[in-house]
């Protein structure tokens, strides 16, 4: 992969996307990874009646979806030694078992500051297989050049 430089990057550039299939096993595994054992993600019996999201089934962690979105940016940024300095996300719809989560990103803004401080803003979106938006995120990525 060619390295991305501040000169070469253009607003509108599209990052390679990724897709993850999720299910209850995914949610259990993410609970272990994150130490977030909230029963809304883990306990099918509890959630049948408790329904924090008004859904009688477990849903995925928001931070799991945010991790997928972030992987879109790190896959693009790390080989070129770019630094993610800020991530801001909003979760718009709970992620249900059996869904595919597709994350796409594009360069939305290019900020001309000075060498070492130039940065871009990447807008990332997570959608399910029906095209419903699950989450959105903005990533500030700083260039060394």
């Amino acid at each position: 992969m060619n390295k991305v430089t501040f000169e070469s990057v253009k607003d509108g550039d599209v990052l390679p996307s990724l897709t993850r299939k999720v299910g209850q096993e995914t949610f259990w595994k993410y609970s272990v990874a994150s130490f977030d054992y909230n029963p809304v993600h883990n306990d099918p019996e509890w959630v049948k009646t408790a329904q924090p999201f008004k859904i009688p089934k477990t849903v995925g962690h928001g931070m799991m979806t945010m991790s997928y979105m972030t992987s879109v940016v790190t896959s693009w940024a790390l080989p070129s030694m770019l630094k993610i300095r800020k991530i801001a996300s909003k979760f718009t719809r709970p992620v249900e078992q059996g869904w595919e989560v597709k994350c796409t990103g594009r360069v939305a803004e290019k900020h001309f500051i000075c060498k070492g401080k130039n940065f871009v803003v990447i807008e990332v979106k997570a959608e399910n297989q029906h095209g419903d938006v699950l989450a959105v995120g903005e990533y500030e990525v700083v260039f060394p050049d």
Binding site: V32, A33, F35, Y37, H61, I87, A88, S89
Partner: protein
Amino acid sequence: MSKTHFTKNFKTEKQRVFSTDFFTKADKYEAWDEIDFSNLKEVDGENTFEIKAEDLKYYAEAVGDDNPLMIDEEYAKKSPYGGLVAHPLFSTTICFWCVGVEGKGNWIRTPGARNPGQVIEIYEGFKVGETIHIKIKPHDRYIKRGKCYLTYQMDAYNQNNVLKTRMYATLILPRTREDIKKFLTGIRGLED
């Protein structure tokens, strides 16, 4: 609920000791309507986190990221990064571990809590060998469209007091301790 769903996924030392039960001691969790905003002094988290290679590798694997910089120690050592690169969202793991069960910020464990989205500022990536501690203080509390939001500022420092990340951790919470108790018995404790 059977814990084998979790134990079959345990691969690190910390995963084997961290409690999977968010219900026990929930009566000690901070409640939305009880947070004291007159005292904004930052407080240390309950625990510190000594980062090992297994911690970073497992997180990347769990989110399906096969970037060799995150999972292959030898590859990462030979790279310009000089060692494993932490997935940026590994800060989630740091927060839950360091907040602990009875420490400030333990509302993040509340059964019934919902995640609306997060803001993370990254100053330096986490590295193997660092020992992380967090400092926590209330940041904001508000109601929006009938939902109770709470935000704490959680700053993660290494053993040399270098600021690594700042997270504005926000959740939508049950409003009162009585609402939390409803969730503990499997009843919806929210008004929205």
